[in-house]
C-alpha cells in the first residue's frame, strides 16, 4: 500500500484535468453549463455599498485600533530585548496591519501611510531598543494627530510635515 506521507519520487510533469463541479452547481438545474455566467451587476453594486458602510464606521474602528496599539506600546516600550518584547512587537505588527487595511480601503491615505510604515519598522531586527522606541513613538504621534484632526489625504503641507518628522526619527536612529 502506498505511503501517503512519503509518496514515490516523481520526475516528470503531469497535467491533471479536474471536473468543474462548481460551474455545474453555479448554473443550477435549469442553466446550461456551457454558457458563460456572471454575478449580476446590481449585486456587485450592493456589495460596493457594504464597503461604503464599513467606511462610514471606519474612523471609530481606527480609533479603537489606535487605542489598542497605544496600550500595547505602553507595555512594550520600557521592556528590554526579550521574548515578551518580541511577542508585543508581533501584536503591534498585526494591529498596525489591520489599521492599514481598513484605512486603505476607506481612502484614509495618511493613516494608511503611517500604519504601513509602522508595521514595516516594528519588526526590524537590526534596530536597537532605543532606536525602536524613538521610531515607533514618532509613528504613533503622527497617527494620533492624523486621526484626531481627521486628515485624509497623504498630500499637502500638513501631511508633508508629519512625514518629515517621522523620516527624521528614522534617519537619525536607523
Amino acid at each position: 500500500m502506498p505511503d501517503q506521507n512519503n509518496p514515490p519520487k516523481f520526475d516528470g510533469v503531469e497535467k491533471i484535468e479536474v471536473k468543474n463541479t462548481i460551474k455545474q452547481r453555479a448554473v443550477g438545474i435549469h442553466g446550461d453549463e456551457h454558457n458563460e455566467g456572471f454575478i449580476a451587476p446590481e449585486l456587485i453594486d450592493e456589495a460596493e455599498k457594504e464597503v461604503l458602510k464599513l467606511c462610514t464606521n471606519s474612523p471609530a474602528m481606527v480609533g479603537e485600533s489606535l487605542e489598542k496599539l497605544n496600550a500595547l506600546w505602553n507595555k512594550m516600550k520600557d521592556l528590554p530585548a526579550s521574548p515578551e518584547r518580541s511577542q508585543l512587537s508581533d501584536e503591534i505588527f498585526l494591529q498596525a496591519h489591520e489599521i492599514k487595511d481598513i484605512s486603505a480601503m476607506c481612502g484614509y491615505e495618511l493613516i494608511s501611510y503611517f500604519s504601513e510604515s509602522l508595521r514595516d519598522y516594528i519588526n526590524k531586527a537590526e534596530l536597537s531598543v532605543k532606536a525602536q522606541v524613538v521610531i515607533i513613538q514618532a509613528h504613533l504621534d503622527a497617527l494620533a494627530v492624523v486621526h484626531s484632526k481627521g486628515y485624509k489625504s497623504d498630500a499637502g503641507a500638513v501631511a508633508e510635515e508629519l512625514k518629515l518628522n517621522v523620516k527624521k526619527a528614522i534617519d537619525k536612529y536607523s
Binding site: E14, T21, N35, G37, L43, I44, E50, D101, A104
Partner: protein
C-alpha cells in the same frame, strides 16, 4: 424559442460554500456580507491557519454528511497571526486528499507588491487580489474560478493550477524542461 441559448446567465451561488480565512474581524465581516449579497449559500469563517486546517480536515472528510457542507472555494488572507497564508496554501496543495488539494484558492493580500501575487501563484493559488477589497474585484475572482478552471500541473517543484492562462506562442528562451507532448494527462478522481 431557440434551441441553443448562448446568452450569459447569472449564477445561482446558493449551492456553493466558501471558506474565508481572515484574522481581521472587520474584513471578515465585510467579506461575509459581500458573499451573502452575491447569494453564496454557505459561508464559513476562520481567523487563523490552524482553525482553517482543522475545519477543512473535518468538512472535506465528511463530504457525504447531511449536516456538513464541503468547501468549494477558499478566500484567504496572506498575513495572519501565527502561520501565514503561505503555510495554509502549502498544506492544501500537499494534502493527500483530492478533496482538499484541488480546492480553488483566492489569496487576498494587504501588501501592494507583486511579490505576494507571484509567490501565491507559485505556491498554487488560483487568483490573488490586493486590498482594498472591492465588490467588482471579488466578483471577478469568483467568476474566474467558476468559469475558467485550469488543469492542475504536477511537477517536481510545483503542484497547482496551470500558471499559463493563455496558449500563446512563446518567442523567448524555452525554460521548460518537459515538452508539451511529454506531459502526461490524467483526470482527477471524480467525487
Amino acid at each position: 424559442m431557440p434551441v441553443f441559448n448562448k446568452q450569459p446567465q447569472p449564477y445561482d451561488l446558493s449551492n456553493l460554500s466558501i471558506l474565508i480565512v481572515e484574522d481581521s474581524l472587520y474584513i471578515q465581516n465585510l467579506l461575509t456580507q459581500m458573499l451573502k449579497i452575491f447569494g453564496v449559500g454557505d459561508i464559513m469563517t476562520c481567523s487563523n491557519v490552524k482553525e482553517a486546517k482543522d475545519l477543512l480536515t473535518a468538512v472535506q472528510a465528511t463530504k457525504k454528511s447531511r449536516y456538513l457542507r464541503s468547501v468549494d472555494i477558499i478566500l484567504m488572507d496572506w498575513l495572519m497571526p501565527g502561520e501565514n497564508g503561505d503555510a495554509l496554501l502549502r498544506w492544501i496543495r500537499s494534502h493527500h486528499s483530492d478533496t482538499i488539494r484541488f480546492l480553488p484558492v483566492i489569496v487576498i493580500s494587504g501588501y501592494t507588491t507583486e511579490y505576494i501575487a507571484h509567490k501565491s501563484r507559485d505556491l498554487g493559488a488560483h487568483e490573488s487580489m490586493v486590498k482594498p477589497i472591492s465588490g467588482s474585484g471579488l466578483a471577478g475572482r469568483i467568476c474566474s474560478v467558476i468559469e475558467h478552471p485550469r488543469p492542475f500541473i504536477k511537477s517536481p517543484n510545483f503542484f497547482g493550477p496551470d500558471r499559463r492562462r493563455k496558449n500563446v506562442p512563446y518567442d523567448s528562451k524555452e525554460r521548460r524542461k518537459t515538452k508539451p507532448d511529454e506531459i502526461v494527462v490524467k483526470h482527477a478522481r471524480s467525487e
